[in-house]
Amino acid sequence: DTAVSQTPKYLVTQMGNDKSIKCEQNLGHDTMYWYKQDSKKFLKIMFSYNNKELIINETVPNRFSPKSPDKAHLNLHINSLELGDSAVYFCASSRRTSGNTGELFFGEGSRLTVL
């Protein structure tokens, strides 16, 4: 009964390919996120969805397209993969509260390696 689960955990692919990472949360949260963590461990927010609606879209190349079919899922599709896309991608979820608080629950990460 994993709270936030991502698949695949590891992904090795060639430059130029298209790939997807899936994320599901069973916590009943209404907000989901994608973060990118580089080799220096820096965590950068990419997207945030609340109730299936995009609310944060950082300066991310439009090769990255998130899709949220329902509140429990947030998938990340990446077109025309580049070497610089190699990183660990983390999905997270939180419950939006009125007090502007929100502990994030993270998945285990998906390590993408582009060759």
Binding site: V4, Y35, K41, F42
Partner: protein, 110 residues
């Protein structure tokens, strides 16, 4: 925009000693701060949080201190144990937007 930074990228302590990890933030309007711990091969996990109307908050072996005057946040870990070895992040949360600092790697020597 918000920027969150850490003073030290690495910290090495002896088992049993206390650890202090520091963080600076830039937006004086920020009002909710969180510390996360990331173990190798895992996602970050919540440790403790603090709101801007507080200066100090204590958990089990951890204490977070907030100095709004200088926009500084610290995490203190008492009696550091080998299991505390991880990367620690401070983060600032505003309206479904969680921004992380650069991370500090804590290594505990036996």
């Amino acid at each position: 925009g918000e920027s969150v930074g850490l003073h030290l990228p690495t910290l090495s302590v002896q088992e049993g000693d206390n650890s202090i990890i520091n963080c600076a933030y830039s937006n004086s309007a920020s009002d909710y701060f969180i510390w996360y711990k990331q173990e190798s091969g895992k996602g970050p996990q919540f440790i403790i949080d603090i709101r801007s109307n507080m200066d100090k908050r204590q958990g089990q072996r951890v204490t977070v201190l907030l100095n709004k005057t200088v926009k500084h946040l610290s995490l203190q870990i008492a009696a550091t144990q080998p299991g505390d070895s991880a990367v620690y992040f401070c983060a600032v949360y505003n309206n479904n937007d969680m921004r992380f600092g650069a991370g500090t790697r804590l290594t505990v020597k036996p």
